[in-house]
């Protein structure tokens, strides 16, 4: 449980306990509990505001601070506790809205390997990722993420979908460059590191994502935008009410009205609800800022393949001159496979290309298509 949620639970319990005691007749005791409840929320708020002031920022939180402080000073203990509830509740909701946005990045970081298997003499020893230096020979086991950029020492089959989108595993003979972040889709292989983890591709992607998230302004609380006008105006009206009437409770009334808790509460809820509504439509939104920006979009720049189009080309026909070839290719495939319904030779054979012969020099690979030899006589 986060600190803010703990705080929320404490405040709710405090108000409820005070209310129960009050109903049983304990007026003094109830006030005491409510005052304590207010203090519980007041302490972190004060620390936060002081920290903000050091950075030269003044927010509308100041009004909540004055309202709670004033409530305690004037003996309005329940009022103070209720302000505390609204403030803490709003913060908890805001946390909830922000957590969704950060989850994605956390997943990416979690996927990154923490330890590697380094060859040291004849042994393979587990080491920290940070200890890898260029030149080290690492063992990458099946299903593991390639930890750093490097050259293959032994042949490897890698799933590079994370980097290129290519779903089919890619074969790399010994001595080829491979990137971190790809996944070993074949047997174990050895890798000679050419970069440290810090300088590797995967770290670069994580950095890019983090920058992308940080450079977009997080949802700015609505009330904070109007703080510059709102705050002095409120303090002025509160002071005027006190001076004219001579009654400090009037100033407190103004502060209570102005406490922006409702705004803090309602805006994150609207955003979170929009995010979950979008999710039902199949749209994953990372944070409220993206949704806000969407509302103002004037230009939608789309790519063609896969967005406007289905992105899944299929063989629809073969031009006339190649038909004879296609029939030959299919017949040849059926013979080879011994099956009446061999896999479709695909557009390439259909278009008249002579597919590569499968044999000792050219091993067949899964997903590479069915090879066939055509009997040419010219």
């Amino acid at each position: 449980m986060t600190a803010r949620r703990t705080l929320l639970v404490l405040v709710v319990l405090g108000i409820a306990a005070g209310g129960a005691i009050r109903l049983l007749g304990g007026v003094r005791q109830a006030d005491l509990i409510w005052a304590a409840t207010t203090m519980v929320a007041l302490a972190p708020l004060t620390i936060g505001i002081v920290a903000d002031l050091r950075h030269g920022k003044v927010g509308v939180d100041v009004i909540a601070l004055l309202a709670m402080g004033g409530a305690i000073a004037l003996g309005e203990y329940l009022a103070g506790a209720v302000i505390a509830l609204m403030l803490v509740g709003g913060q908890a909701l805001e946390d909830y809205a922000g957590a969704r946005a950060r989850r994605e990045l956390a997943q990416l970081v979690e996927r990154a390997p923490r330890t590697v298997h380094r060859r040291e003499g004849t042994d393979v020893v587990s080491r920290n990722l940070a200890d890898v230096s260029p030149g080290d020979v690492l063992l990458v086991r099946p299903g593991e993420v390639v930890p750093v950029d490097g050259l293959t020492v032994t042949p490897a089959t890698l799933d590079e979908a994370a980097l290129t989108g290519e779903a089919r595993p890619v074969d790399h003979p010994a001595g080829e460059k491979v990137s971190s972040g790809t996944v070993n889709a074949g047997p174990p292989f050895e890798l000679r590191a050419t970069a440290t983890a810090q300088d590797s591709t995967y770290a670069g992607i994580v950095r890019l994502v983090r920058e992308a998230q940080e450079s977009k302004a997080p949802f700015v609380r609505m009330a904070d935008r109007y703080a510059l006008v709102f705050l002095p105006l409120t303090l002025l009206v509160a002071a005027a009410a006190w001076i004219v009437s001579g009654d400090p409770v009037r100033a407190l009334s103004v502060l209570v009205v102005a406490t922006p808790c409702p705004l803090i509460l309602a805006a994150p809820v609207a955003i979170v609800s929009g995010i979950s509504r979008a999710a039902r439509w199949g749209i994953i939104v990372k944070g409220g800022a993206a949704l806000e920006a969407l509302a103002t979009v004037r230009i939608l720049l789309v790519d063609k393949t896969g967005t406007l189009t289905a992105g899944m080309p299929s063989v629809r026909g073969v031009p006339r001159p190649a038909r004879g070839l296609r029939a030959q290719a299919e017949a040849s495939l059926r013979r080879r496979r011994g099956s009446p319904r061999a896999p479709a030779p695909g557009g390439i054979a259909g278009a008249g290309l002579v597919p590569r012969v499968c044999g000792a020099h050219h091993p067949c690979r899964a997903g590479a298509g069915a090879p066939a030899r055509l009997p040419f006589r010219c």
């Binding site: 890019l208 509302a295 230009i299």
Partner: protein, 454 residues
């Protein structure tokens, strides 16, 4: 080898004919092949030229290897437009959003698809990379950009942004990441998209469908509209509370505090809690997508709206002060009793104002939108939370007046029969007045625009 037909044909010297035999490829045949390729491209097909060469020894370099080829044929790939794409493009345009296409493909292929989804009319051309680089072209001049590489796409986005546009970009590959990052809203494709694209994008569309992106725009507008409603509600209601506190001070300076802090908090809890949240989670209003996008610089509340909200606050506060005047001045009730009556009116009139506000918003946008036969988005039944919040709030407020422990804690009044009638009248009157004020067409409305701008 495979490659762009023009390139492959230019490097070929021989031709594989239909019977599988090689013949010479002369200039006449070259022209015929190029013509055939061009024709296919105009039908929106993607082309690959295929050629082969048998090598007896290792060539010196790549350039040397790709010479004296035997042309084998053209692979013709057709990637048909999605069935929903045409409607989505038209929806986006109706909402004032320009749809541009950027692709690395052949201009003829791009144009053919663009025509099919209604992005271009017959006769409109595509802008290629060189044209884009050559002139300081207004990027909105043409809807189709072909033969772009990732850097060009990034430049195009920057160019649009320099002109003050807010740009959403779709992409799926690692090469799209720069443009996705630069865009105001990066949209990654869930199925085709790479991990890097997913991570960089602001939103991910799980079904790779343009129509879903248009849905996302609707969701964004719905949220902004809801937040605006919440702010209109809360600002007017809380301003009314301030006016009551200050107004009572001016009208009855010799009497005590018009509203105790605890009473104000109670009102805020009842009125600003569930009703405000219910306004915030409302479904997008029908007709939202028939309006142009909100300008980037337009604040959520401009001066005109603020003045309007001030007027509503005056109406709400006026009803409360009238109750105070009647009960104190006319009926000569004791001060706590008069104050208690006003306390009830302030809470109840705000709750009813929330209902008036939502009705206004629906009428404001009233057009064709998503329709649900059972719960049309335009009726109050479509938002049960709001009904529960307002109804529950009214009951709570009545309960406070009737239940002794709550009454003593909040210092509320137990009204007489005439007191109840006064409370009811004073609570409904401002909501009705505001309802009348805001449904008049010239009030608080964004300029009515049915057609997209530009």
């Amino acid at each position: 080898m495979k490659g762009a037909p023009e390139e492959v044909i230019a490097r070929s010297e021989r031709l594989l004919d239909g019977s599988g035999c090689e013949g010479a490829l002369d200039d006449h045949r070259r022209r015929l092949l190029l013509k055939a390729a061009e024709d296919q491209a105009h039908h929106g097909r993607r082309l690959l030229g295929l050629a082969r060469r048998e090598l007896l020894e290792q060539p010196a370099g790549l350039e040397d290897a790709e010479q004296s080829l035997t042309f084998v044929g053209l692979a013709v790939l057709r990637d048909p437009p999605r069935p929903q794409a045409r409607q989505a493009v038209s929806d986006a345009r109706g909402a004032g959003v320009h749809v541009l296409m950027a692709t690395g493909d052949h201009p003829a292929t791009a144009l053919a698809i663009a025509r099919e989804v209604g992005l271009t009319e017959d006769g409109e051309g595509a802008v290629t990379r060189s044209e884009l680089l050559a002139a300081d072209l207004d990027p909105l001049a043409a809807p189709v950009y072909a033969r772009l590489n990732p850097q060009d796409k990034l430049d195009l986005v920057r160019n649009l942004q320099r002109r003050g546009h807010i740009v959403a970009v779709t992409g799926d590959g690692v090469n799209d990441v720069p443009a996705l990052h630069q865009a105001d809203v990066g949209v990654a494709m869930g199925r085709r998209g790479t991990q890097a694209a997913h991570e960089t994008a602001d939103i991910v569309v799980t079904d790779d469908n343009l129509a879903t992106i248009v849905h996302a725009i609707r969701a964004g507008r719905g949220i902004l509209d809801n937040i605006r409603k919440v702010v209109e509600y809360l600002v007017a209601a809380n301003l009314a509370e301030v006016l009551v506190v200050v107004g009572a001070l001016l009208l009855f300076p010799d009497l005590g505090v018009p509203l105790l802090p605890l009473q104000l908090l109670w009102i805020n809890l009842v009125t600003d809690g569930l009703p405000a949240i219910a306004l915030g989670i409302d479904a997008p209003a029908p007709g939202l997508m028939e309006q142009p996008p909100r300008p980037r610089e337009e604040p959520l509340l401009d001066r005109r709206v603020f003045v309007g909200l001030g007027g509503r606050a005056v109406v709400l506060a006026g009803a409360c002060l009238a109750v105070l005047a009647v009960s104190r001045g006319l009926w000569d009730e004791p001060w706590p009793q008069a104050r208690g009556l006003m306390f009830s009116v302030l809470a109840m009139s705000q709750l009813l104002y929330a209902l008036a506000l939502r009705t206004r918003s629906r009428r404001d946008h009233g057009g064709q939108g998503e329709r649900d036969a059972k719960r049309p988005a335009g009726t109050l039944l479509a938002n049960p939370w709001l009904l529960a919040g307002v109804g529950g709030g009214l009951l709570l407020q009545v309960g406070v007046s009737l239940w002794l422990p709550a009454r003593s804690l909040l210092d509320a009044a137990q009204p007489s029969t005439s007191g109840w009638m006064l409370v009811a009248a004073a609570s409904f009157a401002p909501a009705l007045a505001i309802g009348w004020m805001v449904t008049r067409p010239e009030r608080l409305k964004r300029p009515p625009t049915g057609r997209p701008v530009q």
